[in-house]
């Protein structure tokens, strides 16, 4: 094959665009059948308020930008940055249907309001998949590209979170963008500026991005120290504080501040409050190997075991091989033709190789290591280290890129072996998403036996009260104890006409039906339901035989 570079570049971008379209469309279509998680209910509500402010800012900027009006609109859910909620709200106003309220008239759109609010996060997930395809392609051709993309979006937990109006996959996508931009910024002044802007956007998505700047600094200065200590190559003074670092330190906070109007009134006090909220985060309940934990320290093994239990082994084992092999090569081999380090400048600070594998390792392990620290509050599920997964995918590609040439197989053999290997590596993850694309939060890897194996081991099988859609028709005309379904999520079903007719949400003592989302610490609520309705449920929603949600109550209203 003798392709010109321009044709190759065109192919890469075309492939990325196709992948972007396929992933975005699939996420949007599949997640119409995913129930609204607790947090989404709150974000939907906040998004509507934020979008009303955007509307006001267009109509009457003088009024909208006053501190009083701004604060009134951005006070709801101000413990998280506003960006995803603003774009979610704007997407809902542009594309979603909504009923008339006391604030606004009815709007007809092309999709339900909740689906429209979820769209920006889904587009970011699709973007991350496409970017991974490009990065993988550049490292190891089409197969490398598909491997990187698939090893991210086909992880059941990623697929699930990617469809929600939440911040976890969006921040993972943005951190990936920042890290890749940082790589380019080492040789490009334009990217040197862009990396600061992208970091600001990432911080405006979720607080995980606050760690990115320091981690990139560790990588950059680690490289400089290593060059000096092991290779005897000293960096010129102009690269000691280069453009990417300056950009991230200045543009990053400014962009983040610009995208979060809540902070504008009193930036220092409100940012401090935000930091305190997350460092003093309330302790969630997590079942781990049959034990309920609600006070730190969680066992340090928790995220590592959950990584094993939720990410197919073929992916993380491949990533591990890529990490070891790549890091060894980067740390032991001196650059073959050493570029003149003195040509490095403030604008283009690095002429030596940037040691990408070490960068991927840093970002793949840091989020998991952080959660495993005994001082870290119990934040909850796997979504809290989801930012590691794009880099696990890149490490897998690193293994792929090194294994095939080293194996010295004939081109003919590689022709059939590579697609087969791709299917074997991504197959288990794809099967897991195909099994149920809407209950990924309760999905576990084949190595632990899927949902049944995980339930037997005593691993938490879900939270967030979203596994309810198939039970909704049975709630018609009932007075329902909603358990873990957030009232704002319930109202969203109602806004979209999905809430069963005549059903009302009431306390357990007034109910004639009740939901229970199975978690170990929810046994307290389970016995309350038993005391009212008896121990036999009337319906059970299962994933591969494992009960996720039970409905209690009389068969007829």
């Amino acid at each position: 094959m003798n392709k010109t570079p321009s044709r190759k570049a065109l192919f890469v971008w075309l492939g990325a665009c196709v992948l972007f379209a396929v992933v975005a469309t699939s996420l949007s279509a599949a997640h119409r059948n995913t129930g609204y998680v607790r947090d989404e209910g709150i974000y939907f509500d906040a998004s509507r308020t934020y979008a009303r402010w955007v509307e006001l800012a267009k109509r009457d900027p003088a009024k909208a930008f006053t501190a009083k009006v701004r604060d009134r609109h951005f006070a709801p859910n101000h413990e998280h940055p506003a960006l995803m909620k603003i774009v979610g709200g704007v997407a809902a106003r542009s594309l979603g249907s909504s009923p008339a309220t006391k604030h606004e008239p009815a709007r007809s759109g092309v999709m339900p309001e909740g689906a429209a609010m979820r769209l920006p996060a889904q587009l970011l997930a699709a973007m991350a998949t496409a970017v991974l395809f490009v990065a993988g392609f550049r490292r190891s051709g089409v197969m490398g590209g598909l491997l990187a993309a698939g090893a991210f979006i086909l992880l059941p937990r990623v697929w699930f979170s990617a469809g929600l109006h939440a911040f976890d996959v969006p921040v993972a996508a943005m951190i990936l963008a920042v890290v890749l931009a940082y790589r380019r910024s080492l040789q490009s002044a334009a990217w040197g500026v862009a990396v600061g802007v992208l970091l600001g956007i990432a911080i405006a998505v979720k607080h995980n991005a606050l760690f990115v700047g320091p981690l990139l600094a560790v990588h950059y200065y680690g490289n400089l120290l290593y060059d000096r200590a092991r290779l005897g190559i000293a960096a010129p003074r102009s690269t000691w504080c280069p453009l990417p670092m300056v950009s991230m330190a200045t543009l990053g906070p400014l962009v983040a501040l610009a995208l979060w109007p809540w902070l504008w009134t009193d930036p220092v006090a409100r940012f401090t409050e935000y930091m305190e909220f997350h460092s003093q985060h309330s302790w969630y309940n997590m079942e781990f190997l049959g034990v309920n934990f609600n006070q730190p320290p969680m066992p340090w093994t928790y995220p590592w075991v959950l990584l094993f239990a939720t990410v197919p082994m073929a992916i993380w084992a491949g990533g591990l091989i890529g990490a070891i092999w790549g890091a060894r090569a980067e740390l032991t081999h001196a650059p073959q033709a050493t570029p003149a380090p003195e040509t490095a400048t403030f604008l283009r600070p690095r002429t030596l190789p940037s040691r990408d594998t070490l960068l991927w390792i840093l970002f793949a392990t840091f989020p998991i290591a952080l959660i495993s620290l005994p001082i870290t509050p119990i934040f909850g599920g796997t979504k809290h280290w989801i930012t590691a997964y794009p880099f696990v995918a890149l490490l897998l590609v690193e293994a792929w890129a090194r294994i095939w040439p080293a194996a010295q197989l004939s081109a003919r053999r590689r022709q059939w072996m590579q697609p087969l290997a791709l299917v074997l590596l991504l197959g288990p993850a794809a099967l897991s998403v195909r099994n149920n694309p809407n209950l990924g939060l309760s999905q576990f890897s084949p190595a632990v036996g899927g949902p049944r194996g995980a339930a037997t081991l005593g691993l938490g099988r879900g939270f967030w009260g979203h596994a309810v859609l198939p039970l909704l028709p049975a709630l018609e005309q009932r007075k329902v104890f909603m358990h873990d379904v957030h009232e704002l999520a319930r109202r969203q079903y109602e806004r979209e006409g999905r809430w069963p007719g005549g059903a009302s949400s009431v306390p357990l003592s007034q109910s004639n039906a009740g939901l229970l989302f199975h978690e170990l610490h929810m046994t307290t609520d389970e016995v309350r339901l038993w005391n009212r309705f008896g121990p036999a449920p009337s319906q059970v929603l299962e994933l591969d035989d494992v009960p996720l949600t039970s409905l209690y109550g009389a068969a007829e209203p």
């Binding site: 293994a399 010295q408 290997a421 899927g450 389970e526």
Partner: protein, 295 residues
């Protein structure tokens, strides 16, 4: 890296993929068909047993939905495996026993497996304890009278005392459902549960625990327990919430007698990040049975 090593690595990854793909095909599907549940529930309803258990707790909701016998209080929220002779166990994928059942034995010898039936993914196993035991009296079926240091508690469904409230109900103790007399005393209250002419059998066996999860988060105060038979103190111990479902046993010499449990509760409260906080109620879950050994 040598070509040989790279080929081994490639083969290793491919093998992981093949094995995991096979496991995925096995894991990501329903293994217990509706028909299995239907047949198993018929077998359970037809079987004779003192109580039944699950080898896998996650089978519970569906088992209680499908088989009425599994939803009986004495099955769904039983205290332990004492005071019975025959036992049925429902498991998945050939499982006949579990670690949780081992805990429930609490010193008793494991029963003998006498029959086993398979219904697709489900297994129903029947056991007999040798020697057997039977339950002569059970406070969750024949409740005692309650009184506090401020007088007799009146019962209309719920017991109402001047300084406590109590119910016979399901309660969560140590993340397990239990059937018990669930008492919420005021600070410093002393509550007495008393049954006249209770058959005494071979021993009295009971449990004390704190319910529920939220209450335990807010109050760690222990409770002092004193047991008397015919006015004679036969046990005196302290139970804290870290002990979970705390069992106690009192040897008896048969016959009948007045049995009394006195619960003494000190001030409530807990130590947290901000120091001591005198808040939150404790709710004490109590069950007591008379067990007789069969010869």
């Amino acid at each position: 890296m040598s070509p040989q090593f790279a080929r081994w690595a490639l083969m290793g990854l491919a093998t992981v993929g093949v094995v995991e793909g096979g496991l995925a095909l096995r894991s990501y599907r329903t293994a217990i068909a509706d028909q299995d549940w239907s047949e198993a529930s018929q077998a359970i309803e037809a079987a004779e047993f003192d109580t039944a258990r699950l080898a896998h707790r996650w089978l519970g909701p569906r088992a209680r939905l499908e088989a009425g016998a599994m939803a009986r209080p004495s099955v769904a929220a039983a205290a332990d495996l004492h005071g019975i002779t025959t036992l049925g166990v429902l498991g998945y994928d050939g499982a006949r026993w579990s670690d949780a059942l081992e805990v429930e034995l609490d010193g008793r010898r494991r029963p003998n497996l006498v029959a086993e039936q398979h219904f697709g993914g489900l297994t129903w196993s029947e056991y007999t304890f040798v020697p057997g035991q039977r339950t002569l009296a059970d406070w969750t079926e024949t409740p005692p009278t309650l009184s506090s240091d401020e007088g007799i508690c009146k019962r209309r469904g719920t017991w109402k005392c001047k300084n406590a409230i109590a119910r016979l109900e399901f309660a969560e103790v140590d993340y397990q459902p239990r059937r018990c007399i669930n008492i919420t005393p005021d600070d410093g209250a002393s509550i007495t549960l008393r049954q006249e002419d209770m058959p005494l059998g071979s021993r009295l066996r009971g449990h004390i625990g704190f319910s529920d999860f939220n209450a335990r988060l807010r109050s760690d105060a222990p409770v002092r327990v004193r047991a008397r038979i015919e006015g004679q103190r036969v046990a005196d111990f302290v139970v804290s919430d870290t002990q979970g479902w705390r069992a106690f046993e009192i040897e008896t010499a048969g016959g009948q007698g007045a049995v009394e449990l006195e619960l003494l509760s000190p001030v409530r409260g807990t130590w947290g990040r901000t120091g001591y906080q005198a808040r939150g109620n404790r709710t004490v879950c109590v069950e007591l049975r008379t067990v007789e050994d069969e010869l």
